[in-house]
C-alpha cells in the first residue's frame, strides 16, 4: 500500500472534487450529433460554395438563468470537411487552406454570454483555426424541444484571411471572397437529474 500524508490526501480529494464543482455551475448538455450540423458558405467567382464538417464535439454548459456560469467549447475535426464536389474538400484540407496535417482541429470557446432578445443570445469568445486564435462573437437563438432537449441555431461571418485560410495566390480575395458564413445547429439533451 502507498502511504499518504494528510496533505496528499487533501490534494487527492480536491482533484476528485474539482470536476464536480465545475459541473455544478450550469446544466451540462450532451450534443446529439445526428441532429447537429456545422456548415459554411464561401463565395467563389461571385457564387456561393458550401460545405460542412461531419465531426465535431461540444461541451455545453448553458443555462439562461446562470449565464455568468455558462460556457461552451466546440471542437471541430477539420479533416471531416465535406463538400458535394470532392475536389473542393480535397483542396480545403491542403497546406494552403486548413492545413489539417498541422492543424487538425478548430476550437470555439466562449465563457461570456449576453441575452440580446427573446431566446436570443450573443456568445463572446475565441475561435482557433489553423493555430490562430481570434476573438469572435456569435449570435444564436435557443429553442426548447422538450423539457430536457434543446436546440441552438446561429451563424457567424468570418474573414478567412484572418486565420490564414488560403495561402499564397489564394490570399487574393478576388476569386474566393474573404467572408465566409458559418451556420450551426446544435441539438442537445441533458439528464433529467442534471
Amino acid at each position: 500500500m502507498i502511504k499518504m500524508t494528510a496533505s496528499k490526501w487533501l490534494i487527492f480529494l480536491l482533484i476528485l472534487l474539482v470536476p464536480s464543482i465545475v459541473l455544478a455551475s450550469a446544466a451540462e448538455w450532451r450534443m446529439i450529433p445526428e441532429e447537429s450540423s456545422i456548415t459554411f458558405t464561401g463565395i467563389q467567382n461571385g457564387a456561393p460554395a458550401s460545405g460542412s464538417f461531419k465531426k465535431f464535439s461540444s461541451v455545453i454548459n448553458l443555462d439562461p438563468a446562470q449565464l455568468n456560469d455558462s460556457k461552451v467549447r466546440i471542437v471541430i475535426d477539420m479533416n471531416s470537411v465535406s463538400t458535394s464536389f470532392s475536389d473542393f474538400a480535397a483542396t480545403l484540407i491542403t497546406a494552403d487552406w486548413f492545413n489539417t496535417k498541422l492543424f487538425p482541429q478548430a476550437i470555439f470557446e466562449s465563457k461570456q454570454f449576453v441575452k440580446i432578445g427573446d431566446n436570443k443570445y450573443q456568445g463572446n469568445g475565441t475561435l482557433t483555426i489553423r493555430g490562430k486564435t481570434e476573438p469572435v462573437s456569435i449570435t444564436f437563438v435557443t429553442e426548447a424541444l422538450s423539457k430536457n432537449k434543446g436546440r441552438v441555431k446561429g451563424s457567424v461571418t468570418l474573414k478567412r484571411t484572418t486565420f490564414g485560410i488560403g495561402q499564397g495566390e489564394w490570399a487574393d480575395t478576388d476569386a474566393v471572397k474573404d467572408e465566409v458564413q458559418v451556420d450551426f445547429v446544435i441539438t442537445a439533451d441533458k439528464n433529467a437529474s442534471g
Binding site: N45, G46, A47, S84, D172, V176
Partner: protein, 177 residues
C-alpha cells in the same frame, strides 16, 4: 447594307451574330481545353468562372439568334440538293451544339454544387441537386459534345473555304458583307 436578311443576302444582324458567336465559341473551346488540364490553382478557378459566364452568354445569344432566324428569312442556297442538305444539316447541328453545350455545362456546375455567377449580376439556380455521379456523367457528355462541335466547325470552315477558293462563289463573301 440592311439590318434584315433578303432572299439573296444576309443582313447586318445575322452577320454580326454569326461572327460574334464564332469568336465566343472558339474562345470557349480553347479556354475549356486549356483549363481542364490545369492542376487545381487560383488560375484554374478563375478560368472556370469565366468559362461559365461566357458559356451562359453564348446560351443567351443563341436564343436571340434562333429567334432572329425564325422571324427573318434565310437567304437561299443555290447549291445542288445534296450539298444543300449537307450545309443545312451542319447549320442545324450548330444550333444543337450551341444549346447542348451550355446546358450540359450548367448541369456539371449544378451537380458539382458550385453554381455560376453571371458577371456578378445574378447566380444561376442549380438545375439538379449535387451528385458526384451525375457530375462525371455530364462532364463526359460536355467533353464529347465539345469534340463534336470542333469537328463540325472544321467541316463548316472547310466547306466555306472550298466554296471561296475552289468554286469561287459568293458563299463565304455573303457572310462577310
Amino acid at each position: 447594307m440592311r439590318l434584315k436578311n433578303t432572299e439573296n443576302r444576309f443582313g447586318l444582324i445575322s452577320i454580326f451574330l454569326h461572327w460574334l458567336m464564332a469568336l465566343l465559341i472558339i474562345g470557349l473551346l480553347i479556354l475549356g481545353l486549356y483549363m481542364v488540364a490545369l492542376p487545381i490553382s487560383h488560375e484554374k478557378l478563375k478560368l472556370y468562372g469565366w468559362h461559365k459566364e461566357y458559356g451562359l452568354l453564348a446560351l443567351g445569344l443563341v436564343a436571340v439568334r434562333l429567334l432572329w432566324r425564325l422571324i427573318n428569312i434565310t437567304p437561299r442556297l443555290s447549291l445542288p440538293l445534296l450539298e444543300k442538305i449537307a450545309a443545312r444539316t451542319v447549320h442545324w447541328a450548330f444550333y444543337f451544339f450551341m444549346v447542348a453545350m451550355p446546358i450540359t455545362g450548367w448541369l456539371i456546375t449544378s451537380a458539382a454544387g458550385l453554381p455560376a455567377s453571371f458577371f456578378g449580376l445574378f447566380v444561376l439556380p442549380n438545375l439538379i441537386s449535387p451528385s458526384e455521379e451525375q457530375r462525371l456523367l455530364f462532364q463526359q457528355i460536355h467533353q464529347w459534345l465539345g469534340y463534336g462541335l470542333i469537328a463540325t466547325i472544321i467541316l463548316h470552315a472547310s466547306a466555306a473555304f472550298k466554296h471561296h477558293f475552289i468554286n469561287k462563289d459568293d458563299i463565304l463573301k455573303r457572310m462577310i458583307s
